[in-house]
């Protein structure tokens, strides 16, 4: 399916207020990088447009307008962040909250997903990376997504929240079930998975109530002893918050690992520079985040606003794919090109404003540890010839990445 086949352009002003209508289906799968490349074209044609799909919503495409919206929760609310569901029956905490309520919960995550925590868990992350590499290094190849990108973030996450690493396969399965659901497949098992996660965390919280651990390192104990507005957090909300952490932190890191290794597998000159000088890896990671910013946040209009020339009305949804912002040539020279030593690099791959990814510090460290350990042990690799690499839509990510080495 080519880009032009799945994009119906309609710049004829038949949308609200005479704005363009472009019925691009962001949920469709495609060849790897195709969503980013398609939106490179859309962004240049349209600063904003209306889409009739999934119930109808606005789309904003450029860096300044996307960043500003993310910084303005009074207008662009998190009451829903799912374009097809502007009035959800549930409230993900703290994802669906706005300031000032949002901050009361968010501050709890900031305290536990801090740079200090990241430093503490780095040795375990390094051990985990090597453990997964040990399993396939002698095979001369692996399916990177399932052999590394799936389990490594789950393993690091479990260690960070002081849960058993042996539960990694459970978390990998749940993430598969939920994110399959968001792309339209396996919808039922996504709900089942959330139920199973609820049960799992309920058992873990019960265990911590009986035997509290050190709240400085055990986030479950920390949340049990935390207060919001002077009151302990009700159990339903605790389970909600725990599931949000899982949903936010695993599929994302997995996808970013996939994109990073896809780039390095297909750009041997960049890979060689990193192998020769690993001190370049942090800058390279920022650039790979920028070029592959796969999260498309959505907001719900809380008040009417004329935005990017379009009459947006309270109650409507607006989608703002971060990749459209971070690849905007108005914000970055040669924006579609990976320059692994790009500096400065003020991308918003982790979002902006109050809902900026709480796991950004941990994510960056996971990416760095994975890159360091992998390239120390497998400096040369390529994609298995003759295999199509594809990506899913919405929160995009590679579906497959068979790597081979000698």
């Amino acid at each position: 399916m080519t880009n032009t086949e799945r994009t119906a352009t309609g710049g004829d002003g038949r949308g609200p207020g005479g704005c363009p209508v472009v019925n691009v289906d962001i949920g469709l799968p495609g060849p790897i990088l195709s969503h980013f490349e398609e939106w490179d074209e859309l962004r240049e044609q349209y600063p904003a447009f209306w889409t009739e799909l999934y119930g109808g919503y606005w789309v904003v495409t450029r860096f300044d307008a996307i960043r500003h919206a993310l910084q303005e929760p009074a207008t662009f609310s998190n009451a829903s962040t799912i374009v097809s569901d502007p009035d959800p029956a549930y409230t993900f905490i703290p994802t669906f909250l706005d300031p000032p309520e949002h901050g009361k919960y968010r501050t709890l995550y900031n305290a536990r997903f801090s740079p200090g925590m990241v430093t503490r868990v780095t040795p375990a992350a390094r051990e985990a990376a090597n453990r997964y590499i040990d399993a396939f290094i002698d095979d001369g190849g692996c399916e990177f997504m399932s052999a590394f990108a799936d389990p490594f973030p789950a393993d690091v996450f479990l260690n960070a929240v002081n849960l058993p690493a042996a539960d990694t396969p459970k978390f990998v399965r749940w993430v598969h079930a939920v994110f399959g659901g968001l792309s339209g497949q396996e919808q039922e098992s996504g709900l089942d998975a959330q139920g199973e996660m609820h049960d799992y965390f309920k058992a873990m919280f019960d265990q911590r109530r009986r035997a509290p651990e050190d709240p400085e390192v055990d986030i479950l104990t920390y949340l049990l002893s935390a207060t919001v507005d002077g009151e302990p957090i009700p159990e339903a909300d605790l389970l909600n918050m725990a599931v949000v952490l899982v949903l936010a932190g695993l599929d994302t890191t997995k996808s970013q690992l996939g994109y990073n290794f896809h780039h390095l597998a297909t750009h041997p000159e960049d890979r060689a520079r990193l192998v020769a000088d690993p001190s370049l890896m942090p800058a390279a990671i920022e650039e790979l985040l920028r070029v592959h910013a796969f999260v498309p946040p959505a907001r719900k209009l809380k008040q009417d606003v004329e935005y990017e020339g379009c009459p947006m009305r309270a109650g409507q949804m607006v989608l703002m794919p971060l990749w459209s912002a971070t690849r905007d040539p108005r914000a970055f020279d040669d924006a579609a090109t990976v320059q692994i030593d790009r500096s400065p690099n003020r991308h918003i791959a982790f979002g902006a404003g109050p809902h900026r990814c709480a796991g950004a510090h941990l994510a960056r460290r996971e990416l760095l540890v994975a890159m360091e350990e992998w390239h120390r042990r497998i400096p040369d690799y390529r994609i298995e010839p003759g295999v199509d690499i594809t990506e899913h839509g919405w929160q995009c990510g590679p579906d497959n990445l068979p790597l081979v080495w000698s």
Binding site: R67, T107, A111, P115, N345, R346, A352, G353, A360
Partner: protein
Amino acid sequence: MRIKVDAELCSGQGRCYTVSPELFQSDDEGFVVQSGTEFDVGAEDEDAARLAVASCPEGAISLVGET
């Protein structure tokens, strides 16, 4: 030169203390300690200051007197 860090815009992205650690430090929650303050730096720190300004994804850091 005088650096200003806007506390309303600072969301704890952490780029400033990563790229210019000589001028900025992280607190326990990952926000920059200097959030909500203005402070002077010498000419020897100009490069680090300008790099931090250019690296903040929120645009929270500015040089007072410059747009």
